[in-house]
Symmetry: C2
Subunit: 338 residues, 2 copies
């Protein structure tokens, strides 16, 4: 099977086995623990020793999670893996392997297929993730990319949403709002705007190293990722931990490009940054006595800001304090219901 | 969240969190090794001791792999897991857990959603498979059900496609042709026909016990499942093992209902049974000196026929011998290209 010489061809022209071969030639040599990779009925893996396995799956659907008119194929592949690595990071797990299910419209160009696969594999290489297997189906409708990822974590180093205790600091990584603003900038197809926010929407960097360090050092008492927005994240940690949260809206680290974008369109950057999804940052809580560990983690992750935005309270409910007043938390972002 | 009182409602009415809750209440208590199941960013699993993990993923797409007009929701759920358990069986693995990605048209009835989930969970219960997690997305097009399954096998007991040696017997389990004939019977919507073939199409029984026994006893030298038909299976084992195969078409165990159906429609049952997909039987090879082990396995699997259909040869190529003549092997079944 030749993986070249297909200029202008579609995935239907190449066929299922040809497509699998185009993936196989791009996959780096399998690590020793991956006994059997792509090509048999299933993959065979040596489980990690003295570690737990952390398993997640997340799906990207054309027209729901991404729009092919302004999300290039390599970004579709990058995002499909990134959202899964972000979930693993939220659990404190080091990513190890992934599988890939592709449901492809027959008219998809073979070059776009290659770019999608390469976008996913480039992120996989960057994080040492092996592509262990997958499957390819035809789609009578949208392009669907479903990824399952497995990571490893030592027992008692796994982070959940349920460990926040009264007095814990609430901390968020990076900057908020770039996911939503970047999506809007791409959709508006204006050449101006902020390239930083665009690229944070198109090619989010999952906080893998931060998540692993928060788990390994036990600096965090609870953690989750902000794929569905800060409002959703605060609700989930509050509910799973059975605690209240008091959040200082004025302290939120809002992405500068996103702030300018929202202000230019007459919208409130704070509410947008709180409600908006697609920010693949981590939201976590840190015990009052563990702030030395947090500083240690902050040094190890280098330039990534870790911003305290509130505290965990005994009283149930979530208060968003802004300019001395309490505001209601906006609803979270929901791909299904929205 | 109430999981009842939704007569006539759609999945869009129930919403993503409501749907997840409807799955959660149907899932039996998690086994001890499943430390964290449905509800956090990811599942947390204790890996099996002294075993390898076998990982597979397979996707079912409305309009490609099934037709909602004649495949009831519970059969869609059953099939989506069954095809994955069949892949694990082909590797000699005991299934352990699965994840479920659902991409749902908003107009899907909530009752159909429940039936789909129940169809999958009933098969999971029958095989001791834990549902560890998943995700739910909205579909602007077809219903898509993507399942990932993990099984366990002892090192050196894993079956691959590549171990066939000259002189090995070629053996197939169960009966052939029922997948294709059953599909056609369902599509024809005639109330007559053979209910056995219909139900083997709608609710195939993956050969989990047979696969595990073939691996554990090392009776089989190579193995795969017949999801894409016998012709495809023969080609795959031949290619992966670097061997030829000589198959006696007159010995093929053709399902009686399927044979009657094909003959009634003026078609050749042998060619249909060889080319047709959706027969979730195992095709395997057995060393000439291992036939005692095969008889032992046959006793343990009880009523399931294990029929020798040919031999592995040193000469490359696949010969289909019929009434003393050699025929060409028909092309295999391909969901993507077909």
């Amino acid at each position: 099977v030749s993986a070249g010489n297909t200029a202008g061809s579609t995935v239907a022209d190449v066929g299922e086995r040809g497509l699998i071969e185009r993936i196989r030639v791009r996959v780096p040599p399998a690590p020793g623990w991956l006994r059997i990779g792509i090509g048999d009925d299933a993959a065979v893996v040596e489980p990690p020793r003295n570690h737990l396995e952390v398993i997640t799956t997340d799906c990207a659907v054309e027209g729901v999670h991404f729009d092919c008119r302004f999300v290039p194929p390599d970004a579709i592949g990058h995002r499909a893996l990134a959202v899964n690595l972000s979930d693993l990071a939220a659990m404190g797990a080091t990513p190890r392997l992934a599988t890939l299910s592709l449901v492809l419209p027959p008219s998809l160009e073979a070059a776009a297929f290659d770019a999608l696969v390469e976008g996913l594999l480039a992120l996989a290489r960057a994080h040492g993730v092996a592509l262990a297997g997958g499957n390819i189906s035809r789609s009578p409708g949208p392009l669907v990319v479903d990824v399952m990822a497995i990571g490893t974590a030592r027992p008692r180093k796994v982070l959940t949403r349920g460990g926040a205790r009264p007095g814990d600091l609430v901390v968020v990584s990076g900057a908020l709002g770039a996911g939503r603003a970047g999506l809007e900038m791409c959709a508006a197809a204006e050449s101006g705007g902020d390239s930083g926010a665009r690229s944070r929407y198109l090619r989010p960097e999952p906080r893998v190293r931060l998540g692993v360090l928060l788990g390994r050092t036990r600096a965090a008492t609870a953690c989750m990722d902000l794929s569905d927005g800060l409002a959703d994240g605060l609700r989930q940690i509050s509910q799973a931990s059975g605690m209240g949260l008091q959040v200082d809206a004025d302290a939120l680290p809002i992405d500068e490009g996103a702030r300018a974008w929202f202000e230019a369109h007459g919208r409130d950057p704070v509410r947008e940054a709180v409600a908006g999804g697609d920010d693949y940052e981590l939201l976590f809580t840190v015990g009052a006595k563990l702030q030395g560990r947090l500083r240690h983690v902050a040094r190890l992750v280098g330039g990534l800001p870790l911003t305290p935005i509130g505290v965990v309270t005994r009283e149930s409910g979530i208060l968003l304090r802004r300019g001395g007043r309490d505001e209601e938390l906006p609803p979270g972002f929901a791909h299904f219901d929205g």
